[in-house]
């Protein structure tokens, strides 16, 4: 018998080990845990919710196909995001080839600027992070969302640890700039309320 306890409490690595041994239930639990996380990871990079959903599904299919290669000595999330990143790169390339153009699409740029404008009204750090653009958002997500180490992030993204540190630094600087107007507004409101009070 593979399942020994409440499946929700099991760590990812154990679930992945069980899935590797053939447990469908364990794999579905991994899907349940990571589906929304992968969605928010992919979404800013892709054109629509549907594209992000498709890529999430494709990632899990790929993971299922290759689960026998998973080594439980490594973090499951690092392995998952490595596969996810490769698929995302492939998908992005396919789309660019299909559209017959190189570089960011007009729609994506517009999308980003709209989101940047929305961000000035938002005080959520994650919402602001989403507006930073692909690489910076991705490293922030992997560092703070998935709590991966810099080395694991480097492995997942196929970059050097120094490049990841630089990206994280730039992301923090940019994020602070974006959050500053909101916090300044909040401070101003507080001052006004204090005066009114």
């Amino acid at each position: 018998m593979i399942e020994n306890g409440p499946i929700e409490r099991k760590p990812d690595e154990e679930l992945a080990r069980e899935a590797r041994a053939g447990s469908r239930l364990s794999f579905e639990e991994l899907v349940r845990r990571y589906k929304p996380r992968l969605f928010v990871y992919f979404r800013p990079r892709l054109g629509s919710d549907q594209d992000a959903e498709d890529l999430v599904q494709e990632t899990f299919f790929k993971i299922y196909r290759n689960i026998r290669h998973y080594d439980p000595a490594f973090r499951f999330s690092a392995w998952l995001y490595t596969a996810a990143n490769r698929l995302a790169v492939d998908s992005y390339r396919r789309k660019k080839t299909a559209a017959g153009r190189i570089g960011p699409t007009v729609a994506n740029d517009a999308d980003l600027s709209v989101r940047a404008a929305e961000d000035t009204r938002s005080t959520s750090l994650w919402d602001a992070a989403r507006t930073l653009g692909g690489k910076q958002y991705r490293v922030l997500w992997l560092r703070y969302g998935e709590e991966l180490s810099v080395d694991d992030i480097a492995l997942s993204l196929g970059k050097s640890p120094l490049a990841v540190r630089l990206l994280l630094h730039r992301a923090r600087m940019n994020l602070m700039k974006r959050m500053r107007p909101a916090s300044a507004r909040a401070a101003a409101v507080t001052v006004e309320e204090t005066k009114a009070g």
Partner: protein, 185 residues
């Protein structure tokens, strides 16, 4: 410049790298912008964690296609099974290939051997035979040439043996006599 360096060192310390040098700490204590950055970077982890549930709650209820997974499972099982079949039975597969090759060879030989000559081929073969029969001098010439080649070879061998004898006589200071001289030597 010092602000940039200090902020980079703050970031590096946040990412589990080296500890921030003391000069950077002293600068951050004096510089308001760097202090703000240090505070912001220090709070990020907690703030991100705190906002995570709300952020994930905004994710639309993504449709997960269990049928797709079922199909993928079946495809994976098929691939694994076919791979196993090949991996576990290499000998029968090799035997089958050999058998097929042997059968093809035999069939080819039989067909080739049993194939009757066409009338044109027959005519050509008869013409060749006739041309050979019509020129016996040519035959004899060819045989004589082959004989002369053999003679020349024999003479070379004889000379080699004689020179070997002479060499041995000179070297060892002995006399080698031929008692029963073969006709050819």
């Amino acid at each position: 410049m010092l602000c940039r360096l200090t902020r980079w060192l703050i970031s590096r310390a946040e990412d589990g790298g080296k500890e921030m040098p003391r000069f950077a700490g002293r600068h951050a204590a004096r510089c308001g912008a760097c202090r703000e950055y240090a505070r912001f970077a220090g709070r990020m982890s907690q703030q991100f964690s705190g906002e995570m549930p709300a952020f994930l709650a905004k994710v639309p209820d993504t449709s997960w296609d269990p049928a797709g997974l079922e199909a993928e499972i079946l495809r994976t099982q098929d691939r694994t099974l076919s791979r196993r079949r090949l991996a576990l039975r290499p000998l029968p597969a090799a035997a089958a290939v050999l058998l097929a090759a042997a059968a093809a060879l035999v069939l080819f030989q039989v067909v080739k051997r049993d194939r009757p000559l066409s009338s044109a081929e027959k005519r050509m073969a008869i013409a060749d035979l006739k041309s050979v029969a019509a020129a016996p001098a040519g035959f004899e010439g060819a045989v004589a040439e082959a004989d002369s080649l053999l003679d020349r070879e024999r003479r070379i061998l004889e000379n080699s043996v004689v020179s070997a004898f002479e060499y041995l006589q000179d070297r060892l200071n002995i006399m080698i006599e031929r008692r029963d001289i073969p006709k050819t030597l």
